[in-house]
C-alpha cells in the first residue's frame, strides 16, 4: 500500500488547485494548473463512498475510458491521483462548449465553420468507435472547445464497450433531444449508429441555431422526430414496429429538408440525411462520414483557430455542467443558465446596473 501511496503523493504534487469551479452530485471541480509549467487544468475530485453500491458507475466509466483514449478530438486525461477517499482526475482545461457558442447570438456561423466543427466531431467519434466504445451522450454541451479552437468530446459517464452478441444494453441513454428513435422505442440491442444520430442532430442544430428535435417527453420526442422526418415505413426501417416499446405515433408525411435548411448546400443535406436515416444499419458510420463529399467540397473547413468563440465573460462564468460528468438522463437540452448573465453582458446602459437594490430583489417575481 505504501508503494501506491507514495506514487500518489508524487503525482499529486504536480498539480495545484486554484479555485473551485463548481460542484455536482458526485464530484467537485477545481480550476488548477501544473506546478512546473503553469498549464491550466481542471481537477475533478470525485468523492467515494457516496453511493450505496460503492464507486459510482459514471466515475468508473469516465476513468476507464479516458485512461485509454488519447486523441486530438477527445478530452485528455492528464493524470489521475487519489488520496484517502478521493479520486482526482486532472483534465485539460477547456473554456467553452458548443452549446454556449450556438446560443451566443452575437456570433455568426459560416458554412465553413460548421464544416470544421462537424469534421472534428466525427474524427473524435470515429476514434471512439475504432476503440469499440460507444459514447452514448453526445450533445453540444459535451463537445468542449479549447482555446485553440479544437473540439473535444467529453463526458464519458455513459460510455461503454460494444456489447457482445446477445447481451442487452440499457436504452435510457443519450439526452432526449439527441436520442435516436430505436432507443425511444425501447430497443435493448443497438450499435454505434446511436451516436451518429446524435451527431446528425447536432449538425442540424448548428445550421438552425436552435435544437432541431426538442421533445418534451419521450412520447413527444417521437412525435417531434416523426413530424420532422416523416413516419418511417416498414420498408424504410424493417422490424421497427416489433421493438419493445413501440407505439403508434401518428402518420406524418416526409417533409423536404431543403425547406427548413434553406442555407445548406446539397452536400450538407445529403450528409444530414444519411446521419438521420431511420434504419440504424443503414445510417452512415463515422468513418464513412469523414469521407463524404461534403467535407471535400468548397469551402474548406475553417481552420480551428479561426472559429467563432464565445465572449470571454461568459466563458469565465461557466455553469458547472460543462466540467463535470453529472449526467441527468432526462435533462432536456439546455442546462441551467443564470438569466441575469444576459442582462449584464448586453446592456452597457446609461442606467447603471443598480448596485444596492432594495431587499425585494432576491424574491423579485414581478420581472
Amino acid at each position: 500500500m505504501d508503494v501506491v501511496e507514495k506514487a500518489n503523493l508524487d503525482r499529486q504534487k504536480r498539480w495545484i488547485k486554484d479555485s473551485k469551479a463548481g460542484e455536482g452530485t458526485y464530484a467537485v471541480v477545481y480550476r488548477g494548473h501544473e506546478a512546473a509549467t503553469g498549464k491550466r487544468v481542471a481537477i475533478k475530485k470525485i468523492k467515494v463512498g457516496q453511493f450505496k453500491d460503492g464507486l459510482d458507475m459514471s466515475a468508473i466509466r469516465e476513468v476507464k475510458y479516458l485512461r485509454e483514449l488519447k486523441h486530438q478530438n477527445v478530452i485528455e486525461l492528464l493524470d489521475v491521483f487519489s488520496s484517502k477517499m478521493n479520486l482526482n482526475l486532472v483534465l485539460e482545461f477547456l473554456d467553452s462548449d458548443l452549446e454556449m457558442i450556438i446560443k451566443d447570438r452575437s456570433l455568426v456561423f459560416l458554412p465553413a465553420d460548421i464544416k470544421s466543427w462537424m469534421a472534428m466531431t466525427f474524427r473524435g467519434l470515429e476514434f471512439c468507435h475504432r476503440n469499440h466504445i460507444l459514447h452514448r451522450d453526445l450533445k453540444p454541451n459535451n463537445l468542449l472547445i479549447a482555446s485553440d479552437g479544437q473540439l473535444k468530446i467529453a463526458d464519458f459517464g455513459l460510455a461503454r464497450d460494444f456489447a457482445d452478441p446477445g447481451f442487452k444494453m440499457t436504452n435510457q441513454v443519450i439526452t432526449r433531444w439527441y436520442r435516436p428513435p430505436e432507443l425511444l422505442f425501447g430497443s435493448r440491442y443497438y450499435s454505434s449508429a446511436v451516436d451518429i444520430w446524435s451527431v446528425g442532430c447536432i449538425f442540424a442544430e448548428l445550421m438552425l441555431r436552435t435544437p432541431y428535435l426538442p421533445g418534451e417527453s419521450d412520447m413527444d420526442q417521437l412525435k417531434v422526430t416523426f413530424r420532422a422526418l416523416g413516419t418511417p415505413t416498414e420498408e424504410e426501417w424493417p422490424g421497427y414496429m416489433k421493438l419493445p416499446d413501440y407505439v403508434t405515433v401518428g402518420q406524418f408525411p416526409k417533409p423536404s429538408l431543403r425547406d427548413l435548411f434553406t442555407a445548406a448546400s446539397a452536400d450538407a443535406l445529403n450528409l444530414l440525411n444519411k446521419c438521420l436515416t431511420y434504419e440504424p444499419r443503414r445510417r452512415i458510420s463515422a468513418r464513412e462520414a469523414l469521407y463524404h463529399s461534403y467535407f471535400f467540397g468548397l469551402p474548406y473547413p475553417t481552420h480551428p483557430s479561426k472559429l467563432p468563440k464565445c465572449a470571454k465573460q461568459v466563458a469565465a462564468s461557466r455553469p458547472l455542467e460543462d466540467l463535470n460528468g453529472n449526467v441527468e438522463k432526462d435533462a432536456t437540452g439546455p442546462g441551467v443558465h443564470a438569466k441575469n448573465n444576459r442582462l449584464k453582458r448586453k446592456l452597457s446602459s446609461p442606467v447603471d446596473e443598480p448596485k444596492g437594490r432594495s431587499i425585494a430583489r432576491r424574491l423579485d417575481f414581478t420581472k
Binding site: D53, G54, N88
Partner: protein
Amino acid sequence: MEERTLKVATSSYACLILAILYVFDPDMATSTSDDGNESVATVKKPLYESSTQFRNWRCSPEKLAHIRHSLNEAAVSAIRNTFEAAEPGSSANVSFLDADEELLLVKLYVSKIPQLCALFRFPEEVEATAITYLKRFYLRNTVMDWHPKSVMLTALFLATKTTNNPISIEAYASHIPKTAPSDVLDLEFLVAQSLGFEFAVWHAHRALWGIWLDLQNFPGDPIRLPMSAYDAALGHIRTSRLTDTEFIYAPSQIALAALSLVAPDAATKWADTKVSADTDTSAVSLSSMVESIKSLILSSGKIPDVESVREVDRRLRICKNPEKVPGTKAYLAKRAEEERLAEEKRAKKVEEVQKAMGADPFGEEIKNDAPRPGLVDYDDDDD
C-alpha cells in the same frame, strides 16, 4: 501526393506566419496549430500498445519475481516492526510468509473466482477481468496486509461494474455466505487505487474467438475445426489465468498458444499468414513465443493443492499485519496517528481562514480593492 505537398508547404508557411503572429497574438501562435501533422514521426501507434495494459502491466518473468520478492521483504520488515512496537520480542516466533507462499495463496483464490461466476452466471468477461484485477492487486500489495479472500470478493464486484454487468451490492453479498456488504465495499477503493484506476483489460478469450472467426476466412480453404477444439482451447486459456502469462505476453499470443495446444497445424498455418514479411530473424519469433507460453500453461497452470494451502493459511493468521485488523493495539495506534495528522491539518486550515477574515467576526466592510486570500476548501483533504 498533392495533398501532402500542400500540407508541407502550408506548415512551413504557417510556421513563418506563426512567428510573426506571436508578436501580435501569442495565444494563436503557441497553439499546437493545424492538424497535428506537424509531428515528423509517421510511425503509427498500434492501439493495443497504447493501452494501459501494455504500458503499465507488462513485465518479464524476472521482473515479476523481483517485484514480489521486494514487496514481500518490505512487508515482512514493516510488520515485524509493528509487532515489536506493540510488544517487544513478539515477532521472534512468528513465521512470516515468503513470496512463493503468497503467490500460492493468491492462486488458490484466483481459482475460486470461476466457481463464484458460475453461481452468479456472470459472463466470461467478468470472470477474466476479476482474475486480472486480483493478480494485479498482489503486484502492489502483500497478502499479509490484505487477505486474498476479501480482495477476491471485492475484485469480482468491481469487475462486474467495470465490464457493464452491474449487480447490486445486496444481491451480491446475500449470495455469499458470511459476507456483509461493507466487507466488500470497504476494500473497493483500495483495490481500484492499487490498479491505478486502470480498468480496461484485453483478454485472451476474445482473441481466441477472433482467431476462430478468422480461420473461416482463411485464404484458399476456410479451416473448420470442431467445436470441441474451441472448447478445449478455451479451457487452456482458463488455465493460463492461473499463471503469469498475461503479464508477459499479449492476449493474441496466449490465444494462439492455446489453439496450438489443441490444433497445432491449424495454429501454425494461421500464424504464418499473420507474420510480417520483414521480421528480424534474430528477434524472438512467434513460434518460439508460442512454445514458451504453452510450457508455462502446462507447468504452472495447476490449482494449488488444498493441503499446502491450508498450512500457509494457518501461518497467515498469525503473521498478518495487526495494523490492518480492527481492534488490535497496532490498529488503534495507527488510527490515532492518522487522526492526529488530520487534526493538525484542520487546525492549520482554521488558522488560515481566521487570518483571512480578520479580527472582526462579521468581517469588515467589503472593499473591492482588498486582495482576496487563497481559497480555503474544507472539502479538500488532499493537501
